[in-house]
Symmetry: C5
């Protein structure tokens, strides 16, 4: 899975059939400026750091084998410091990254 | 899914069997100069900004599991500003990107 | 699908079983110098510009689901100008790229 | 399969269903600074050099076809020298890299 | 399929179940310095230039659909000149690359 930051929703009145169940989000991969579009079964909001999976697993993650997604968000990272620590610090004890609890159909309300 | 701009149709009198249902378009990925070819079940025209999905989901998106596509357009983005905003503005409120309504078999007529 | 130019055949007396049906070609991706090897169910010759599909669709394109290919040629482009046009010209009317007719098992004879 | 170094666990109280069986680790690909997240059915600890597989094989490697992973660790490399040897030495006899024994559900205790 | 040079075996006493049938090799992609690990059903030795396939075809190539490989060697190239010829020469007649005969379960003995 790769790490992305959510940029903005992509309102999609028109999609091919099969993409109707979930909304799509414009996301930016960690360490890159290129934008991609991910299916969001979790309920993220702009600024969230998330993990998303691609390949055929993106179909599974979206809920069923026939869902035509190649990038699906599978979890929200509670804390992500995108600035790499200085080189000496990287030799030390690795910190834990905590992913907050959410159900697959959760909305945004009350998460922070 | 990744973001592409449609460049031109690719008239394909000859393809392997199984590629007969949809037409193919030469597309250029956002932020790149490299051209790829996408299957178009939606009905795009040159200049359109679209989202296309790859991997095994491209087969699903093209209509059935046996369709030999690894890049299929799944939606047309109504507005896409390819120029990145200045750095300060990126901290502000993210804007919505609207995808216009279209059915899977729609033609080009009357969309704009 | 991506765009490749055929470089040369790769005579393969020995392959794993399952690769026996089609021949393999050394191809070079458009805009790159890296060589790859594609399965050719169409019948290309060196110099041809072709479209090839990867991912799981490469198996479908090679004829059946069990064919162990991750890059299969699906069509020959009749005309491909690899030189990008000058920037002003790119704003104009896009040209059509024509793919010549060929059957999946066609040989090289008489195509040009 | 690609070679990664484990950086830290990613505590995931909340994931989509289906990701519940295994924990996830932040990993860094050999020769890169970009971080990814891998599913760990083996039992690695920070600093370990591992091999992980992607694509649809990541689902198989995680234990069953429906597991929504696109990157799964499949083995721990006992010795990996990330510094490339000087050019002359590379012409010599290649050394063996040994992967230590572990069962799929093994913990960290007593491995070193 | 991509072109790799075999670097060294990777002795794997411990792997997840399902990786037991074949050995793994450290390989380096042609034109790159990055190392990957490939499953070898053919029987290669260090220095060999090989073609390997990825994606879901790597599972097929390894012998059955459940094999968790995302990179499997499918043939040994008899002659591969990694030095690109000078630019004028590239316009000339393309040479043939010959892949030597080997069965899927062959060992190293007597091949050279």
């Amino acid at each position: 899975m790769k790490i992305f930051q959510v940029e903005s929703p992509l309102v999609a009145t028109a999609r091919i059939r099969g993409l109707e169940l979930h909304r799509m989000l414009v996301v930016r991969e960690q360490g890159s400026t290129k934008k991609q579009v991910a299916v969001d079964p979790v309920g993220c909001k702009p600024g969230d750091w998330v993990i998303a999976c691609g390949s055929s697993a993106a179909r599974e993650a979206a809920g069923h084998k026939d869902y035509p997604s190649d990038l699906t968000i599978v979890g929200i990272i509670d804390f992500w410091d995108d600035e790499p620590p200085p080189e000496e610090e990287r030799q030390g004890e690795p910190e834990l990254y905590v992913v907050e609890s959410a159900t697959a159909a959760a909305g945004d309300g009350g998460r922070r």
